[in-house]
């Protein structure tokens, strides 16, 4: 029994860094704002190379200074020698915050009734206090695109930073109207539609999309001329896509659908992003030629066809990047968005390379979202979304030591960690006294 406890002790000590900023009994640590000096780290800027022995000053939520010799007497100094700093990771497609427990319908808020509901705002339904957010951010994912699901136009996605008590505090400055492009793949094993039926369904859906687009165009033209039209929130929202105010994020996956989607958007003057793009590797050159940026994932996924090489999903992002497509990654998850670094690692290993994979979770999404001056790299003036780790955070053995979001120092605690603390060495143990 004695030896047992001793083992635990050494074990706990080994994990001290993890828990140094974790919850202590009876005390709750909140995200902490202020001025921080991260001293003497190896900084992976993403856009400006790797800087050794570099310090970073965080002020007013921003990276205010970077260099080897920063003096800031009023800043809290955090010694980062021997540690690495990366920009916070961006997951470009999740339902994080929109769902608590997937099998309990009362807690599922990512889908509305109706086929044309672009006016549904994901940001409204984000629960800033979901258990999943603290679970996510300790992995180094600091920013997520939260995306509604459903019909042809299921709603409007929003980018959030994983800190804040209201959706507006979390909002990171990007929204897009989501479109589910008519899909010629099967929805599942139970989908027994004939090929002809699928084709017919698709033609019908595309016809509907075209009609809606024309309506939105007319709506926009009339409104621009000063017309006062009936309240029509669905079309009003689509009109913002027509006018270029909001981008259109098109979920499309099967190769032939991707080709059709490229044709469909060709004559439409909209800012278009493709998402999903599971079979993008089959038509990578065409996507590159159309200059449409892509959000793809999950990477850790099965091939879409039985005949595909087993690693088709792992290598998809890399193949598209090689063809010249601007690629961002997503987990398409809700409670396990924390696995984004591992999805990125798989993409890196299966052809994308580490550098490009890092871009796909940092600067590429920032550029796709038009936020390259705020997010996606460690540069002076950018939002202080930073992670400090013992080594490359894509590795599972890496420990994340500090996370900053919007300049807030994030407590490295969540329910998973609290349960660990409580139950590692349970008391009473097997026998009660």
């Amino acid at each position: 029994m004695k030896r047992f406890n001793k083992t635990f002790l050494t074990f706990l000590i080994a994990l001290l860094p993890l828990m140094s900023w974790a919850q202590i009994d009876g005390e709750f640590i909140k995200p902490q704002g202020g001025k921080f000096l991260l001293q003497n780290a190896t900084v992976h800027t993403i856009t400006k190379g790797v800087l050794t022995n570099t310090s970073i000053l965080i002020e007013d939520g921003k990276i205010s200074q970077m260099g080897s010799n920063i003096s800031a007497s009023d800043a809290e100094v955090i010694d980062c020698s021997g540690l690495v700093i990366y920009p916070g990771m961006i997951d470009s497609g999740t339902t994080l915050g929109l769902v608590e427990v997937n099998s309990v319908p009362e807690t599922v808020d990512y889908q509305e009734i109706g086929n044309v509901t672009p006016n549904m705002q994901a940001l409204t339904a984000v629960n800033p206090n979901t258990e999943a957010i603290p679970v996510t951010r300790v992995s180094g994912v600091t920013t997520t695109l939260t995306v509604p699901q459903g019909g042809l136009f299921p709603g409007t996605a929003a980018l959030i930073n994983l800190v804040g008590y209201t959706p507006d505090q979390m909002y990171a400055g990007f929204k897009a109207v989501v479109m589910n492009f008519p899909n010629s793949a099967r929805r599942g094993r139970w989908d027994r539609r004939s090929d002809d039926d699928i084709k017919k369904d698709n033609e019908k859906a595309l016809k509907e999309a075209n009609e809606l687009w024309e309506k939105a165009k007319s709506y926009h033209e009339l409104i621009s001329k000063g017309a006062e039209l009936d309240y029509y929130p669905e079309i009003a929202q689509l009109a913002k896509v027509v006018s270029g105010e909001l981008p259109l994020m098109i979920e499309v996956n099967a190769a032939s659908d991707i080709q059709n989607a490229i044709n469909w958007v060709a004559d439409k003057d909209a800012k278009v992003i493709f998402s999903g793009v599971k079979e993008g590797w089959r038509v990578a050159d065409e996507i590159a030629k159309a200059k449409i940026p892509v959000i793809t994932g999950p990477v850790q996924d099965l091939p879409s066809r039985q005949s595909d090489r087993y690693d088709a999903a792992y290598s998809n992002a890399g193949k598209m990047a090689k063809a010249g497509v601007k690629v961002a990654l997503r987990t398409n998850d809700s409670e396990n968005v924390r696995n984004l670094p591992f999805h990125a690692a798989f993409a890196a290993a299966y052809g994308m390379g580490k550098e490009e994979a890092w871009k796909a979770v940092t600067i590429n999404p920032a550029e796709i979202f038009g936020l390259q001056d705020q997010l996606g790299s460690v540069e002076t003036g950018k939002v202080a979304n930073l992670i400090v780790a013992t080594e490359d955070p894509f590795e599972t053995r890496a420990q994340i030591m500090h996370v900053f979001i919007n300049g807030y120092r994030i407590p490295l605690s969540n329910r998973h960690i609290r349960l660990y603390q409580e139950f590692l060495d349970r008391s009473p143990g097997l026998k009660s006294n």
Partner: protein, 460 residues
Amino acid sequence: MKKRHIFLALLLSLSLNFSWAQTPKGSVLIKNGTVLTVTNGTYENTDVLIQDGIIKKIGQNLSAPSGVTTIDATGKYVMPGIIDAHSHVALDVVNEATSPIVAEVRMKDVVNPFEIGIYRALAGGVTISHAMHGSANVVGGQNATLKHRWGMDDPADIIMQEAPRTIKFALGENPTRVHGRGNGQQPRSRMGVEAILRNGFNEALQYKKAWEDYNQAKSQKGSTAVAPVYNERLQTLADILDGKIIIHCHSYRADEIYMLINVARDFGIKKLVFQHTNEGFKVAPEIAEYTMGASVFADWWAYKFEVYYSTAFNAAILQKNGAITSINSDSAELIRHLYHEAAKTQRYGGMTDDEALAMITINPAKQLGIEDKVGSLEEGKQGDVVIFEGHPLSSYAIPQMTFVDGIKYFDIQEDADDQRQRISPTEAVEPILLSEENHRCMQDTEHLFETASALFQMNH
């Protein structure tokens, strides 16, 4: 008299497979790798010689016997074949969901050796999987332990015939949803789940006694004893009570785990492994003391209510409390990177390399009762080996070759892309599946529900 004996012999042998062809065995010398034995440490620049399917020698400067192929593993890692203690790969049917107890059904009856999932698992270094009945029943069917011999036509050739019998149990939401909520039969609650178990075991005791009484009476001269009704369901439960079958129980909450430990103790059952066990960490000392441990997910949680209070540190807590702990997939995708799932225990709980690797090799082998044959690189064990580029616990690791019984079934360099063994002559274009069903724990239960659509979100 003689006829009766034949019948009894038949009863006894029911669960045995009568004949199977000799499965292929190979020889190979893997040179100069970093050999991760898992049980006996790690050796640099070391060779592994497999002959006729068995690891003959692990050491330096081994030379290949004539006719034995040599593979250069310089700079690569050599580890034992990965074992998945929870999968539904290669099964044509997953759930016989139609009764709270279906102990009589055998997954060996519906093994499908052509399923592409086998090859995909090999490409992730997995050589053995535990093909389980689903979780729709309190007592599900008997599982099959498979060796991934890709390309065999006969299901018997991918069944690990020397593995002991195992059976699926399930507690909590799934059986209470299918039977109680779905069809108005017990169990509707975790109370009912316990009652179903105790009823079943007590009936099995009576059944066993009825046959024993009958057989004894029969041995008397001039006996007119009448044979009891034959019931393979109760016979199987009796076999569990006799220690002939290992229980693998789908479970999530600590209370239900503790309940089954108590039931098992009351009936003298020692062969018990918990599956999923998301709240196992709360009763880790009990699991360690009374069972063969837990087989868990690395990080799955919150997909249903009974896994809301989970922690990714579960495996580490169980391991540190002395429970045999394995990491499983229960998923056609996760099975492809169990090495990566095991590596997550390093982030969530600081497991050592050997502890993490044990969770996908020797520990699941123990839970399947095959640790004397597989699960580590040791002389005399079966030649199930994976060669990795990069350390298998690195997120960038890529399996290069996978051997089962010394035969190479996966080679990243040489294999054709299209590995399908069965192609429909009547389908011009193969179907595209965007979300192929990764999770099949509740497959084949759809017909029991009026609102089948509600089911697709709660599969595990």
